[in-house]
Amino acid sequence: MKRRLPALVSLLAVCGVLAALPFLLGNYNVSLAARVGIYFIAVLGLNILTGYTGQISIGHGAFMAVGGYTTAVMSRDHHTSLILTMLLAFAICFVLGLLVGLPALRLSGVYLALATFAFAVSVPQLPLKWSKFLGGRDGVQTSRTVSHTWLYGAAWTASATLFVLAWLILRGRVGRAFRAVRDSEIAAVASGIELPVYKTLAFGISAAYAGVAGSLFVLATNGFAAPDEFGVVLSLQLLVGAAVAGLGSLWGVLAGAVFVGLLPTVSSSVPVIGSNHGRDVVFGAAVVLVMLLLPGGFAGLLARLRRFAGA
């Protein structure tokens, strides 16, 4: 219990700050904070797959697209409650994740990364193919749009729920199996872990998280889902978020989410002399700096601080 106390205190502190933020921030900043919450969910999901199970995915933007379109289409055609569409996005993406996880049984490392990359490239093309149902390039509009505060509440409630869920999954038998797969597949098999089950399961859980994030992402875009929103860059951003967070740690995820959720917006107002590319330059430089100074991401920093404090 004594060992857990600091974690509990900081968890409560974070929750307290998050609950207080809407009352302190201006309306616009609440929308930014909601955006961080959305990235939090996606990065958290990716971390379960990449950080804990060692499977690289550059395709999570595609799962977000599926989740986002689920919400948009259900709301447009059936006026489904938005919360319900999030649960639906979770379920659909879980199944889809299991399916996409199948190639992961045969591929590893760079090859798996490429396969998921192909997924990220191809999924945004589907709305163009079935443009009657999925709106083509002109997108799908939900029947209802939400306020910044609603979005903030939904995003962070979902974040908290999914964070606890992740913690429960990872602390037990399943989490141990995930880590064993990451550390050595051969050793894992030798200890009786069924690789196919755990690899696809990790893909499923991770995709389900991305689906919820995608659902919220569309709501954050005024309920408008369009292919251009889910480009390859989104998938790369999530991977950057997971790396900044520090692979294999839940605590760094907040830092990773803030990094990818806020930096592009904030840095677009940083004037870089004679260039419209200020945002990309600043974002790129920040990524390089973080990787140089914090090779273990923010999670690594936290661990080092803890050691320092303990010494």
Binding site: V17, L21, Y28, G136, R137, F224, N276
Partner: protein, 421 residues
């Protein structure tokens, strides 16, 4: 343990301090947002970077025009501040950037934002908050049609277009074909989205009972490679088309014009206005395209063909003074610069008509009752008009034809045509 608690405390304090500072910064605004005694703050989103960044000269020209107006005393002694934000043509970026303009920069109006999907992603939000979303840089028919008729759940009285709409433009090409080549076998290349489909629909409407003369309509997806585009062109030729209509965005247009020449095909060819910007055709000619005789339409004046118009002299001077880096682009005939100046001119004109006591409703009233026969940057004779019934500001076009080969230009011919709704 103690260290940990202190650390957490410090973290919380830091977060709270940041939050408080941010909320104080956001809290100052007057009765009409963005308007003060000596300032009007407006903003817009544009693809300054990314694949559609060829359009970035439009906001540059608009900024130049506002700088020119400011240097000449502003509008009712108010100087215009134009905040240009990059959205990379991506709706998921348009939304936060537009939210930022409205809720953080407290702009008076969102002016000139570019692209159909970016506008569709923000028009519900802006109309709900009664923020003018005006002179949008896209020719889809939504902006005119949805003022009185519900679209995506509600009418959109706060959204206004500017340029002639795409279906009307396509109708003109249909009429030209019927008048000059009645037995034409028409092959169409169009972009697979509302943009391309609206054009195609307009062409069919214009052809009426002759729509069956379209022997093939090939669609491509935005971002397809030159090979894919070329394959479509080859197919159109193979099915026996002798008239080639291109409803594409600039890159694909250039590629299809080059492919057309490479396969030795010389049908009667039409290029839609969006791609009929001299700089794009010069690029096509550089890659070997033979352009003479291609037909299109125009609605802004041409700095290369009409350099002696007072408006074009002024345009040259404004660009030279306020965006000297774009002098060369202007000289090469980039019509997007003229487009930006003309659009900004309309906005300033509306500000003048909205009067001294500027409100958002007042601006919309002025924009919905425009009568601009002489915008100096628009093609002479084309006027911009709106009324309660007329929701498309520009309903006139002039037909143009390319001549002069690799260093040629779009030469207007015939009378100005009304394409009224």
């Amino acid at each position: 343990m103690a260290v940990n608690r202190r650390k957490v405390g410090a973290l919380v304090c830091a977060l709270l301090a940041t939050a408080a500072a941010a909320s104080v910064a956001a809290a100052s605004h007057t009765s009409t947002p963005g308007v003060s005694k000596n300032k009007i703050v407006i903003g817009g989103t544009f693809p300054l970077t990314g694949f559609a960044s060829a359009y970035k000269t439009i906001p540059a020209a608009e900024a130049a025009y506002y700088a020119y107006v400011n240097a000449h005393g502003g509008v009712f002694h108010r100087k215009i501040t134009d905040i240009i934000l990059d959205d990379q043509y991506d709706p998921s970026q348009t939304v936060p950037q537009t939210t930022k303009l409205v809720e953080q920069n407290h702009v008076f109006a969102v002016v000139g934002s570019l692209g159909t999907a970016p506008i569709l992603s923000t028009w519900n939000y802006l109309n709900k908050n009664k923020v003018p979303q005006v002179l949008v840089a896209t020719g889809d028919a939504y902006w005119g049609n949805c003022v009185h008729h519900g679209c995506q759940g509600s009418t959109k009285p706060w959204t206004l277009g500017w340029q002639p709409d795409y279906p009307s433009e396509a109708k003109l090409y249909a009429h030209y074909i019927l008048a000059h080549k009645a037995s034409a076998k028409i092959g169409v290349l169009y972009q697979n989205d509302a943009y391309g489909k609206n054009y195609l629909a307009g062409l069919k409407t214009g052809l009426g009972s002759h729509a069956g003369q379209i022997v093939d309509a090939e669609s491509y997806n935005f971002g397809d490679s030159a090979q894919v585009i070329a394959a479509h062109v080859v197919k159109l030729r193979a099915v026996g088309a002798d008239t080639f209509v291109i409803f594409a965005t600039p890159t694909a247009t250039i590629q299809s014009l080059v492919a057309r020449t490479l396969i030795g095909w010389s049908p009667l060819t039409f290029v839609n206005n969006v791609s009929a910007n001299r700089v794009f055709e010069l690029a096509a000619a550089k890659s070997g395209a033979n352009l003479d005789g291609i037909i299109s339409t125009g609605y802004v004046a041409s700095q290369t063909l009409q350099p002696n118009l007072p408006g074009m002299k002024l345009a040259k001077q404004i660009i030279h003074t306020y965006q000297p880096a774009l002098d060369q682009d202007f000289a090469a005939g980039d019509l997007n610069l003229v487009y930006g100046l003309a659009s900004a001119w309309t906005f300033v004109d509306a500000l003048k008509h909205a009067g001294k006591n500027l409100t958002r409703a007042g601006l919309m009233k002025a924009l919905r009752h425009m009568n601009e026969p002489k915008n100096p940057f628009v093609y002479p004779g084309i006027s911009i008009k709106t009324s309660a019934k007329r929701t498309f500001p520009m309903e006139q076009l002039v037909m143009t034809k390319w001549s002069g080969g690799a260093s040629g230009d779009w030469h207007p011919f015939g009378k100005i045509v009304n394409v009224g709704h």
